[in-house]
Symmetry: C2
Subunit: 167 residues, 2 copies
């Protein structure tokens, strides 16, 4: 979202839905729709794994999409807010790193986030203090960064013969 989703509104909800279908060995076909504040899409995406992980490498792995989404989100926010704050961006590049811990647990394994780093390179004729201000408002406007900054609950349900069951 780079402009007010509802012009003149002060608050809104933004909702994205995704339908995933397992295909092939490890490939997932993913159809995403923005549902709120208005409909946009469908956006057709896919994930796969390399042969080492039992896949056919027909698409990027899920973690590549994840790191790309964070990087793209903060970059989009910087460009959108630069316009609003009259800050000139001649060039913008971002280098992100995401690191997780992986630990074997019996026949399966568990994972945990370790650290996230975002390095921003902005070519701007404006004062450094204004560019820092831009980065800081972009953090607060970035949906994904704000999501990672909080402990979120994810509710799961499983389809059963008797209907949806919380798991």
């Amino acid at each position: 979202m780079t402009e007010d989703p509802n012009k003149g509104m002060q608050k809104a909800q933004v909702r994205f839905d995704c339908h995933g279908q397992a295909t092939g060995k490890m490939r997932n076909e993913l159809v995403v729709m923005m549902k709120l504040p208005f409909e946009e899409g469908p956006f057709e995406l896919a994930t796969d794994e390399g042969s080492f992980h039992g896949g056919d490498a027909t698409a990027s792995p899920p973690l590549a999409l994840f790191v790309a989404s964070i990087t793209g989100c903060i970059m989009t926010q910087m460009r959108a807010f630069a316009k609003r704050l009259d800050i000139t961006l001649n060039d913008l590049t971002v280098d992100s790193r995401a690191v997780w811990d992986w630990e074997a647990k019996g026949r399966v394994y568990e994972t945990a986030p370790h650290y996230f780093e975002i390095d921003v390179s902005i070519d701007s004729p404006d004062e450094e203090a204004r560019v820092i201000q831009l980065i800081n408002v972009a953090k607060k406007g970035c949906f994904i960064e704000q999501t990672l900054s909080k402990a979120n609950t994810i509710n799961h349900r499983m389809k059963t013969a008797d209907g949806w069951k919380a798991v």
Copy 2:
């Protein structure tokens, strides 16, 4: 990651790097590399925005990649762990919903996560209790779900004439 990144190892780090270059009006070219536990990639991705948001709609918006990444990650984990736990998956579909709050703040805006829902449809001849077990181990093995479940710190730096500066 669907197999042990290092066979026989009990612990490892998994690291993904992304380089983003702003192009066009709102498009970002994103090159992702897996760096640890071994190198894989590059994975070439992009984000853009629709005309309403000042973009050219040449790629999916960042939030579409984000919701696709969560959905693809949990699906991949279910298939990988089903093999390890000898659970048969004849078919697997997942429907996810991600909702954020958006609020205008002066000339910019702020965002916050609202809720996340993941509905799993598994066609399996195995007992329901075993399928529930599969979903629960998949949650713990899913890098992205584990990340969203915790409050993470993201460290930002800005390139200056004197080197990198924390912002």
